[in-house]
């Protein structure tokens, strides 16, 4: 079953093409135009006749409608193919123009998901927005994309809590090939977003060769889940072996290209794993200099707290007269400010005494990154005697907080486990506690590129941020 779809006017394409070839008789056209401009009633009556029988043989109509629809699609395709480049130049409004509606549709569906959902919503909005930037016929595509966004949003809404992100990514990927072009914004966007770093098509082909779903690759390449990366790597290795076996030592253009793509993907995946391993080593090195394995756990806990402390998107959702709007520019600005605060916090936390540290962690996890950073900064700027008072207060607070910690700790652990199980996280990261300052600096206000997640710089410098 499919939807009910009725195209009101048919046969247009063949008419227009024969008209352009001069085969259609349109002598009275000028009169018609004048006539049309004058009288609505007559036209309506004329069309009424044509639709009278419709209720009677509606089921027959289905088939005819179908052929009419095909015309429409063919037209759209043709039009898009003809005028792609030209339209891309003439359609300058781009992102802001399209953002509104996608934002509207998606924000409504996503507001229930909290920050992670909002991030997904923004990502999709941006992806779709970027896709539209190069669209041959912006307005038409807008209507189309609005429906797509709606579909996407409803699917995600239905899947509430069940890992809709992957589904969303693969859907965005499905949209890609038709939108790709040299320096296409969507390509660069997705590159930044999921760290593909290479041609999307290559990844899709490689995934096909490897017999692995594209979303596994995307997940693997994103570095959000090292296990997924390893699985993807295994898949690629298998695929390389298969292609080699099939080629029996005779490499031709086709299998040579396939292998080259797979190798590129392999080195990409290896890069992700290496980055991850090195980061882990670095992390434990920091831990050992403080002579405590527990501190490593603490640093990781800070990472979790940091995630928890991420800006709550619902603060930026307003509802007025039934219309939901999501102020994503403020949301992102706040997110960036929070990241910067988290950076400062993490820089300073190593220099303060342990009592202050645990108090700061508590402030951080309860009141967020900004408060945590402010607390640590206040301590560092205090005079020697005030610092002692800080420490005393921290000790007392710590004792009081210790009692309460049991409960809230359990709740937080539950929430974190849930997030992990669902593959969600406000900021999926390979390694938790390091925010590269470059990324904060590189943040571009949401007219073009959007940064959703801080990135670890991969080893070897292949990935460009």
């Amino acid at each position: 079953m499919a939807q009910i779809k009725i195209s009101l006017v048919g046969d247009v394409r063949s008419f227009v093409s024969s008209f352009k070839k001069g085969k259609e008789s349109v002598e009275d056209l000028a009169d018609e135009v004048e006539d049309l401009a004058k009288s609505g009633d007559k036209v309506e009556r004329e069309f009424s006749e044509n639709f009278k029988g419709i209720a009677k043989d509606a089921d027959k109509a289905g088939k005819k409608v179908k052929s009419g629809l095909k015309d429409g699609f063919d037209d759209a395709k043709k039009e898009a193919a003809q005028s792609g480049a030209e339209a891309a130049q003439s359609f300058g409004g781009g992102f802001e123009d399209v953002a509104d509606f996608v934002q509207e549709t998606l924000a409504q569906a996503f507001q229930g998901f909290g920050p992670a959902g909002a991030a997904a919503g923004i990502a999709l909005a941006a992806a779709l927005g970027a896709a539209l930037q190069g669209a041959a016929d912006a307005e038409e595509r807008l209507a189309e994309a609005r429906e797509r966004a709606g579909d996407l949003a409803t699917t995600l809404y239905e899947n509430r809590g069940k890992l809709p992100m992957e589904d969303a990514i693969s859907r965005v990927l499905e949209l890609l090939p038709s939108e790709r072009g040299a320096g296409n914004p969507i390509e660069s966007f997705v590159n930044q977003w999921v760290d593909l770093g290479t041609n999307i098509d290559a990844v899709k082909r490689a995934a096909k060769l490897a017999g692995t779903p594209v979303r596994d690759f995307v997940r693997g390449l994103s570095g959000a889940d090292v296990e997924a990366t390893r699985r993807a790597l295994e898949g690629v290795d298998d695929a390389i072996t298969k292609v080699r076996e099939k080629a029996r030592g005779e490499l031709n253009w086709e299998n040579g290209q396939a292998i080259a793509q797979l190798e590129a993907l392999k080195s990409q995946l290896t890069g992700v794993i290496t980055t991850n391993d090195l980061a882990r080593e670095a992390l434990s090195a920091v831990g050992s200099s403080f002579d405590s394995a527990a501190y490593v756990a603490k640093v990781e806990a800070i990472g979790d707290a940091w995630s928890d402390a991420m800006v709550d998107a619902s603060n930026y959702v307003t509802e007025a007269e039934g219309v939901t709007t999501f102020d994503w520019s403020s949301y992102l600005a706040d997110a960036v400010a929070t990241l910067a605060a988290a950076n400062n916090y993490q820089r300073d936390i190593l220099t303060v005494p342990s009592d202050i540290r645990s108090e700061a962690e508590r402030v951080f996890s309860e009141q967020g990154a900004k408060a945590g950073a402010a607390y640590v900064a206040a301590y560092l700027s205090a005079s020697a005697s005030d610092r002692q008072r800080f420490v005393d207060a921290a000790k007392q607070n710590g004792a009081a907080a210790g009692k309460a910690q049991g409960e809230s700790g359990a709740a937080a652990a539950e929430a974190a486990a849930k997030n992990k199980a669902q593959g969600w996280g406000p900021l999926p990261m390979t390694v938790q506690p390091r925010v590269d300052e470059r990324n904060v600096k590189n943040y571009v206000a949401p007219t073009g590129t959007i940064w959703l997640e801080p990135r670890i710089r991969p080893i070897g410098g292949r990935q460009v941020i």
Binding site: M1, G68, D75
Partner: protein
């Protein structure tokens, strides 16, 4: 016939040719204006039809209008979102609620002409085509006179 062929009407021929020869910006304005006007007409017409609660959720709430440069398309039951408590989605069962079905409890009895969408279509299609042709002419005319 489910739709009217452009060849059957001189009005439509004129409209289509005007649309084809209008520049991109004007075309897009025409589509926008037509869509904005047609959506409420289509929805109101569907709402005015007698329909069960299920039919209304399946068919009326999912009504959409798409306007291209060549035609206006009315759709319904395109949603993949669950419309009924049992999990039925319009895209799967919309047509069954429109035309009825012998299978399934609580489904409307089979009716060839449809219950909601197709009867509404017969009334609303002429209005919307008329609206479209008028809009094309009006905007194209205004544009020629320099009124933007």
């Amino acid at each position: 016939m489910g739709f009217i062929s452009v060849r059957e009407s001189a009005h439509l021929k004129a409209t289509v040719i005007a649309m084809q020869s209008a520049d991109r910006e004007i075309q897009s304005r025409i589509r926008k204006v037509t869509r904005e006007a047609a959506v409420p007409i289509w929805r109101e017409e569907l709402k005015a039809r007698p329909a069960s609660e299920q039919q209304s959720r399946m068919l009326v709430a999912t009504a959409r209008v798409a306007v291209s440069s060549n035609t206006v398309t009315l759709t319904s039951a395109g949603s993949k979102r669950k419309a009924l408590s049992g999990g039925a989605t319009p895209i799967r069962l919309g047509k069954a609620y429109e035309f009825g079905s012998k299978k399934g409890r609580g489904m409307p009895a089979p009716r060839r002409g449809g219950y909601v969408v197709y009867p509404a279509l017969a009334d609303v299609a002429p209005r919307i085509i008329s609206l479209w042709t008028q809009t094309v002419m009006k905007i194209a005319h205004d544009a020629l006179e320099g009124k933007r």
